[in-house]
């Protein structure tokens, strides 16, 4: 995996982590409007990053469309990557 892909992957991890943190916070603070706005914005940004990543490097999850041949089986898998 080249450095560009690793950098893009880390950016994706960071954005998804932000969304997760607000997600957990909102579970116990469902009426915090500012946190809700941050969560929604984090999810919008994450969707953009994910689309861009998957267009370049293949599907990350279930039901993302695949080029030919079936791309899901492509290596490396997450535990094989040197970050």
């Amino acid at each position: 995996m080249n450095r560009d892909q690793v950098a893009a992957l880390k950016e994706l991890m960071a954005q998804e982590f932000t969304a997760l943190e607000f997600h957990l916070y909102l579970d116990t603070h469902p009426t915090d409007q500012r946190a809700l706005m941050e969560y929604n914005e984090a999810c919008r940004q994450l969707m953009v990053l994910k689309q861009r990543y998957q267009q370049c490097f293949g599907p990350l999850t279930f039901c993302e469309t695949s080029g030919y041949p079936w791309q899901w089986i492509e290596e490396p898998w997450p535990w094989q990557i040197s970050y």
């Binding site: 957990l24 579970d27 116990t28 535990w79």
Partner: protein, 190 residues
């Protein structure tokens, strides 16, 4: 249901192969305060939580623990990478090798397999949330002892991330406990 994402939650890396640390770290895979026990505890207890907030936090943290299980597996896999049989035996992993080669298996540091006896599901939401808070503290302490045992800054970087997650989870379970206690009070007939 669950859907897999073909990525780690955190870029887990190790500075070098290290069988001694692999032997210690495997307890967070299949040990009493490890990530599988955490995930199964929360995902099992959630069915009898009384409020939407408590069901949500147990579902979401139980799911995050599966991501941590994958991080631990990745670290152990990398720590054992390219080790020879002689090195494995010298590190005290000969018995593990006889049963598993270098495959991942759900055991603690002494080779004891994972058991559901590590977790409880009491049906009393206050008791269950207290167990969950204690579990986060025990996992936090385990990561601290592992950091003390390790001299690999790259490995410690990921262990510190996982340790910090235990603190955030403790906070969320504490908030859920408050919500549940208030809910139970409101239902109580005097």
């Amino acid at each position: 249901m669950w859907i897999y994402e073909k990525k780690l939650q955190y870029p887990a890396k190790v500075g070098r192969a290290n069988l001694r640390m692999a032997k210690y770290l495997i307890t967070q895979y299949g040990g009493p305060d490890g990530e599988l026990a955490a995930s199964m505890r929360y995902l099992t207890q959630r069915y009898t939580m009384p409020t939407g907030q408590a069901k949500a936090i147990l579902t979401d943290i139980g799911t995050e623990e599966l991501a941590h299980l994958e991080i631990i597996a990745t670290l152990v896999y990398k720590l054992m990478d390219r080790a020879t049989v002689g090195e494995i035996e010298a590190a005290g992993l000969g018995a593990y090798y006889a049963d598993h080669d270098k495959a991942l298996y759900l055991v603690n540091g002494e080779g004891v397999p994972w058991t559901a006896a590590y977790i409880q599901s009491k049906g009393d939401p206050v008791a269950d949330l207290h167990e969950d808070m204690a579990a986060e503290e025990k996992a936090r302490a385990t990561y601290e002892w592992l950091i003390n045992l390790s001299d690999d800054p790259d490995l410690n970087d990921t262990l510190k991330f996982l340790r910090q997650r235990e603190i955030v989870h403790f906070q969320r379970f504490g908030e859920a406990l408050q919500i549940v206690q208030e809910y139970m009070d409101s239902k109580r007939i005097y």
